[in-house]
Assembly symmetry: C2
Homo-oligomer: 201 residues x 2
DNA sequence: GTCTATATTGAGATAGAC
DNA sequence: GTCTATCTCAATATAGAC
């Protein structure tokens, strides 16, 4: 019973290769990364990659799907929970920066190749997931306005996109292993968003 | 004297082709756009492009340089001007959204291909321009904090990047020919940044 | 300034042996 | 699971005629 005991994350060759591919995609870009480079980095020949994956595209697909599914599931839990508007917003933002910290390479891949991927039929789910995400976040913002916690005169959709763009693109410069942790950065973003930068007497 | 009278923007074949290339780069991505597609869209054959430009890369280079030079020049004027911190910040943000409105395709190209371009030696100036831009914006924010207009406890560099990312990536969804003009959107972003979204009694 | 024709290269992917 | 060997294709770019 011990040999088949585990799904528990023994990385396995396949996942190892996938991780290597993800790092290269993030660093050099998806198109600019060749299957030969991936194979080299994994210590095998390019043809051998195709024992594990159908195509280069399939590798990126798998990376992106996994991260987005996890993030969206977390968003759903937060939006469905009984948190007040501010704690809910804070939890959403923390979740996003948490993903950047936990899956930096994949998030960078997604941010950098968004325009490319959204044109490939295989990645059609990206638009779908994005729409649900927008609904969830906008829901939290509008509810907050409805109960008087957030200003009533705000465009929730614009606000969501402004925040979303600021958060995700931070993957291009933010290092989670530096002095500022992801929750900390999340709180700073939320703080600015909530109270603004104008000094008050 | 009338034949050589003008630099005044007669488009000319070359600029026309460059504009077509820019639209395709923005829409399909730089790498995914082939010189044949550009040539097709311009109504010529791919080889003929090389009468006007050295390479596909050179086309993108020219597009990006022109826009960034113009934007940075405007930033310099604003930062050097005698505006107060809030009007200066507003002017900077308006300038950025103005560029998105005026040169949507080129800004999209730059945002989408940032990771690619910054790895190509030819585009080394991107990092340089970005650094000066950061200095200018951070200078405005820090001056504002020093004179008590902005909160003193803020991380100006983080704030700049947050705002920069939010502004530029909006090129992926914002349409300047829609109901909200660029100055209007700029003012909304600045409004949120200055006063926050928390409702106050 | 554009076309014809083509050189050249480098990519993703496949088949079958080991 | 990896290697050997190779196919196939599409891309950028060039040379010289018109």
């Amino acid at each position: 019973m011990s040999t088949t005991a585990a799904l528990p994350r023994v990385p396995g060759r396949r996942d190892e290769i996938l991780g290597i591919a993800g790092e290269l995609f993030a660093e050099r870009g998806f198109t600019a990364t060749t299957v030969r480079e991936i194979a080299d980095a994994a210590g095998i020949l390019s043809g051998s990659l195709y024992h594990h994956f159908d195509s280069k595209e399939a590798m990126a697909d798998e990376l992106v799907r996994e991260v987005l599914d996890r993030v969206l599931a977390a968003y759903r839990r937060i939006a469905a929970g009984a948190l007040g508007p501010e704690p809910a917003l804070r939890a959403l933002v923390r979740e996003a920066f948490g993903a950047i910290a936990a899956d930096r390479a994949t998030v960078a891949l997604l941010v950098n190749e968004w325009n490319l991927f959204t044109q490939v039929p295989r990645f059609g789910y990206l638009r779908v997931l994005e729409q649900e995400t927008e609904r969830l976040w906008v829901g939290v913002l509008e509810h907050g306005a409805a109960v008087g916690v957030f200003r009533a005169d705000l465009d929730a959709r614009m606000l969501y996109r402004m925040l979303r763009d600021a958060i995700w693109v931070s993957v291009r410069w933010y290092r989670a292993d530096g002095p500022v942790g992801p929750d900390q950065l999340a709180d700073r973003y939320v703080d600015v968003l909530l109270t603004g930068v104008r000094s008050r007497p």
